[in-house]
Structures are given as structure tokens and as C-alpha cells.
Amino acid sequence: MLIDFFAAVGDVLSSESTYINGALFAALLAFAATGEWVAERSGTLNISVEGMLLSGAFAGALGYHLAESVAVGLVFGAVGGLVIAAVQAEMSHRLTADQFVVGLTLNILIVGLTGFLDREIDPRADYASEVEIPILVDVPLFGKALFGEPWPFYLLYGLVPLSWWLVYRTRWGLELRAAGENPQSADVSGIDVNRRRRQSIYYAGLTSGLGGAYFLFARLATFDDSVIGGQGFIAIAAVIFGGWTLWGTMAGCVLFAGALSFQLSLQGLGYELNTELLQALPYLVTIGAMAIFARWVRPPAALARPFIRGLK
């Protein structure tokens, strides 16, 4: 039994497709989690990231349908994410409506809306072409997964470091971090707290919209309202798991995507296993991490707390 298990693990780990699938899911999570991380650092627990991904995927399909171009599809996807971000940001950080009510409603609304529009319009998309980076792609096991992907994948190599740079090295990032940690002090220092928070939600919308469109072109090629299927929530889990650092978040994305692809590969190789446990793993690991590290790892001090001047 135990030997069987190790044999299975060995088979899976030596199969290139495990890594290719893993990279595919990890990229989806990374697109979403990067933006989500920025939003959470500024103080918003942005649960509409799920809706942003879905909206991005649909808008991507629509873009391709209209222009027959993956690039246009990606732009549409980004806009699709931004539309959701606009509602979330303006309602929760201008009108001071509860951010969870807005996020939850958006998630339900967008499943209905994309489902509705999908049947009415039925947009057709296609796979993005794969681009192989010479030499690197020949590295055994990892090569294809990291350097032989559909071309939108490579946007991540720019997006993640860019996000890090924006948050830690620019004035904008400094101000949004201040808004997430201590909005009162930031306000006294002359920073428009809610504006920074809105902007970081827009950023989350942009990256998540791109992520949704990427996933469509990399894996699916046709839209369906169940394509995202909770990956947005896994992205949230990854940010929490990562202790609100970007690299921790990325580690969470890789871990959670790895679990998913591990399970797919096992099935593909004909092994029986507990898929439910593996699918619940991201959430269980995150809950466990929170329970253990809650004392040491602090969320941004003002996470999920609205800021209204004059109120504590």
C-alpha cells in the first residue's frame, strides 16, 4: 500500500505534464493573487476577485470573438476585470457600502451575467500560440512548464516583479501600504486613503481580468460560466497563506496549483486517490497556517476596515 503510494508519487513527479499543468494553474492564481495582494495591502479584503477572473475570462472570449486576436482578447479581459473593480471600489470606498456585501453580490451577479451573455452571444475563442524560449525549454521536467507556455503566460514574468516594485519602491506603493496599515496617520500626512484603496482595487481588477483571459486562451478556448470555479477564492487563500508578502503569496500559488495538478496527473496515470482532500488542501493549509501563525504574521492592520475621516 505504502509502496504503491510512493510509486504513484514517483510516477507523477517524473511526468512532465504534472509540471505543465501546475504552471498553468499557478499562473492563473498568480495573476489574481498579485492584484489581490495589492488590494489587501491597501486594506481591502477583495472577495470579488472571483468575479473579476470570470469577467476577465468572458471579456477575453468576447474580444477574441470580435477581433480574432488573442492580444485584443487580453485587453478585453483586463477591461472586464476593471469593470468589476469599478463597482467594488466606488461602492465600498466612495459610497462606504460594506465591502463583503458588494463583493458577494458581484460574484453572484457576474456568474449570472456571463452565463446569460454567453448563451445570448456565444463567443468563440481559440488557444493562444505557444512560445518556446530556446535552450531553457530543454531543461528536463521544468523546461516546458516554465519556458514553453502560451505566450500570455510570460506577462507574469513582468507583472509580478512590477507589482513588487510598485508596492515597495514607489510613492504610490508607500502610500497604499500606509493606507492599509494606519489610515488615520496616512490621512494626517495628507494622503487620500480611500483613493489609494480604490486604485489598488482597480489594480486587482486589471491583473485578475488578465488572469481570467489568460486562462481562457491557455487552457479552455471556450467560455463557460464555471471555468473559474472558485480559483479566485484560492487566490485569496494564497495571499493569506503568504502572510501578505508577495513571495509568500507566490509560494502559495505554486503550492496550491501543484496540489491540483498532482491530483490531475495521478488520475491521468490511473491511480485512485482522495481528490476531495487534495481539492480542500488549499483551504485547509491556509486555515492551518492562520491558526498557527496568527500570533506572528499580522494582516495589514486596517484590513477590511473602512476608513471614514473623523471616525476611528
Binding site: 496599515e181 494606519n182 500626512s189 492592520a301
Partner: protein
Amino acid sequence: MIDATTQLAGAGGSGPSVPVVELIGITKRFGGIVACDQVDLTLYRSRIHGILGENGAGKSTLMKVLIGLVLPDAGSIRIDGRPCTIHDPLAAAELGIAMVHQHFSLVDQLTVWENVALGEAGRLKSAGVRDRVAAISRQYGLEVDPDAQVGSLTAGLRQRVEIIKCLRRDPHILVFDEPTSVLTPEESEQLFDTLREVVAAEERAVVLVSHKLDEVLHATDEITIMRQGRIVDRRPTQEADVRSLARAMVGREVSLRSERAAFGLAEIEEADREPDGGGEDRQSAETTKSDEPALRIEGVMVKGRGGARLLDDISLDLGAGEIVGVAGVEGNGQRTLGDLLSSLVPLDAGRVVVNGEGVSTGSPGAMAKAGVAVIPEDRHDSGVVLDMTVAENLLMVDPHRAARHGVMDKRTVTGIAQQMIDEFDIGCSGPDAPLWSLSGGNQQRVVLARELAAEPDVLVAAQPTRGLDVGAIEYMTDRLRQTAIGGVAVLLISSELEEILELADRIVVMSRGRVVGELSRAEATLETLGLLMGGSAA
């Protein structure tokens, strides 16, 4: 320390040049209270100007007008002779006015240089900011590591960061609001040296807002004294001494009130307490001590975030029928003491004993159950629930009074509430009015009514008259006195000296979370108390 005043001729002693700031006829009202009443203030370059006054004298409001946080109802402002209006802090910054805030404007989780850069415009260049921080540090002797995380710094270092943050914007006018309230004496000393540097080096004008006599005497060139929204006196620092300043700060009206307290009502009170052995207050305290004290606080220590001692080895006995005043500059542990007696904080060391029984102070409702009623310092914090009705607020502590088998009877609730509304003359549209619809004074009466209805053995009144108008103050004062006459031990925590002098039989003075002095009312004068509070030995 006092003789230090004589050597301060001041850099600007060579005669006033052109005024850099002129505030003319500034008036600001909040509701019925006049925070500033026709205030004129003139500031000169190269001078440190002290503004002295008690809490609520209008100093802070005046400064908020200057930095654009408050718009005045009347009056005008001139900067360098030109009239201007200051809508917000950004406008003030553009005019070269900066304020070092009493409550820090720093973000703990960021580093020193990041905090200094916060609120500027343009590209963020960490090397540039770091260099500038280092340069300012060197120039003014404000050493601090630019890469340290602000949350890990001591209060003194944090203030340095705050000052650097201000200086980096190169302001002409620098306002310090109660800068030493969080500093140790040595740190304060260093701060004043820095102020001298700031003024001497670049012809800046500095305003030092304070209610500490000796530091104003020690560090300024000129002093303006405010009381109840008005300027009562101004004079060059050379011509001032600690006694005359104390008198001016606390003022004539107050001595009138104290006189009334001393010769009028107080006599009746003491006559009533004759069996207790009234007259000499020390004695009365000792007589009760030999019995069981109503409240005994023994060697109490409470640590705050990061291990700072908010209360440090406090011991205090409180006898039935006695009013003990706790005097002190705000922020010296009074709030924690109030919280402790409201079951809001657990102890790190020591004991709290009520009527001979130890109380576990952090568990919900423990103090109330033991018979300690509290009028909290900030009633919105733990005193009332704004979104509930007057009746519900009146029954908060003991809802079972109006309930049978856990169900509250509407008629009983209304009945009890109406009775309390009548007895305490609470102005409201009825028991079902939401609490937020009441004025501050009436909200305070709700608290008072509820706390007294519990028939407590001990009543803690923290800043009970803050923000109330004159009539409401009178009412509250009378009530507290009657409560003591009725045999309740009253702990009056207040930063208003006249209130304490008027009511208390015995006075303890708190500073930095410790009790630094204890006086009977006979021994206590404004000057002795003021000196103790200000950290000088009496």
C-alpha cells in the same frame, strides 16, 4: 529648574522684527461652547512662543485653525503680512506651516525613512530621503536609524522621526502640540535643545503648546496664557515665574469656585459627615482605612502593547463616603486606571479589592458585579451604546431588573426608565429615543443615572464634566458630592484641577503611570499640585 528661566534671554531678544504670523480676532464655536473667543496671536521669526493653558482652554483649537484642520467662525490670518485663508493641512504646508502632532502621525509598520517620505510628492528616492534624514539628524542632534521600523522605537525616538518629518518640508513656522507628554525628562531636555537649534539656525518661528509650567518657562522666549477660549495674559518669559503663571493659567474664576467649595457647600458636606470624623481629611482617611476600605488597589501594574508600563505599582485606598481626586496631566495612566476599574483590562501584577474581596479585573462585568460603578472618561467608548434607546442604555448593566424569566417586560422597562429620566432630569423625547439624539450633557446624565441606580459602593468618575456646559457641570458636581455623602466611595479622575480642589477630600497625583504624590485638601493648592503634575518636586 526654575532658575533656568533667568538665563533665557532668547535669540530673538534683540527686539521684534516683522511678524511672520498674525491671528486676529479668531473665534470658533462648537455647539454651545466657545473654544476660541476673539483670540489674537502674533508670532515672530527666531522666537519660541509658548502657549500655556489647561486642557480645554482652546490652545489646540487655535493651533488647528493655524494648520487648517479647523475653519474659524470669525477672524483673519496673515502670513508675512499677507492675508490668507487656510482650508486644509495641505494649504498650511504650502504656506510653510507644519505641526508636530500630539498623537503621532506615524505608521508603525513602515521604516523611519518611509514615514518621513510619506505625504510628499514626486518620485520616491530612498537614497535621497535617507541622506536627508541623516543630514537633519546631524544638524539638529536628532539621531535615529533611517532603516529602523518605527513600531520598534521608543516614544522619544518616534517623536524625533515626527520632527524630522516636519523639518524635511523646511517650514517657516513649526507648531509643537504638547510635545513632552510622552517623553522622559532627559528626552524633553534634548527636545528643547533641538528647538533652540531650529530657531537659531534658520530664523524659524516655533510655537510650543503646553500646560506644563516649567517647560514653558524653560524653553520659550515669550508666553501667551489662555483660559476658557480667551487670552488672559502674555508676557516675555524673562518676566514670568512659575507661581504667577500657575495663577494666571488656572485663573480667577476658578479660585472663586474653589472659594465657594471651601466656604459654602463643602461645610455642609463635612457637617453631614461628622460621625465619620470629618474636618481634618487625613484623619477621615485613616479612620476608614482601619475599617475595610471600599476599594483597595495594591501594587497594581498594567502593561500595554510592547511591554510599556501603563500603570506602575499603583496603590490606593478609598474609604466609604470619601472623595479621592486623581490629578495629573492627561496620558499619564488615568485612562488605564479607568479601564481597569471598568473590567476592561486584566492585571499584570497586584490586586484590586472591593469590600474585602479580590476582583478578577479583566473578566466581563466583574467590577460592576463587585459594586464599582464607573462614569467613563469617553462615554462613547464604553459608557453608552449610541444606537440603542435611552431606556436600554439605562438598563445596560442590570437588565434583569426589568425582566422575568429572561424576558424583558416592556411596561416595566418604560416605567423604570421614565422614573430615572424624571429623577435625573434627562432631556429626551422619551424612553424610546435613540441615545444619539441626546445632547452630550444628557448622555452623561444617562450614564450617571444608570451607574447610581446600581447602588454601588464605589463610584469612579473619570473626567465627568468634560465637554459639558456650565449648568451641566454644576449638576454633575453636586451629584458627585451627594453620592459621597450617601456613603459611596468616590474616585474622581480629572485633569481639571479646580474640579478636584472643589470636590476631593484627598488628592493623589499621577505621572507616568505612578503615584508621585499624595496631599490632603488642606495641603493642596494650585501651585503645589501644578508643580507635582508638571514633574517638579513640590
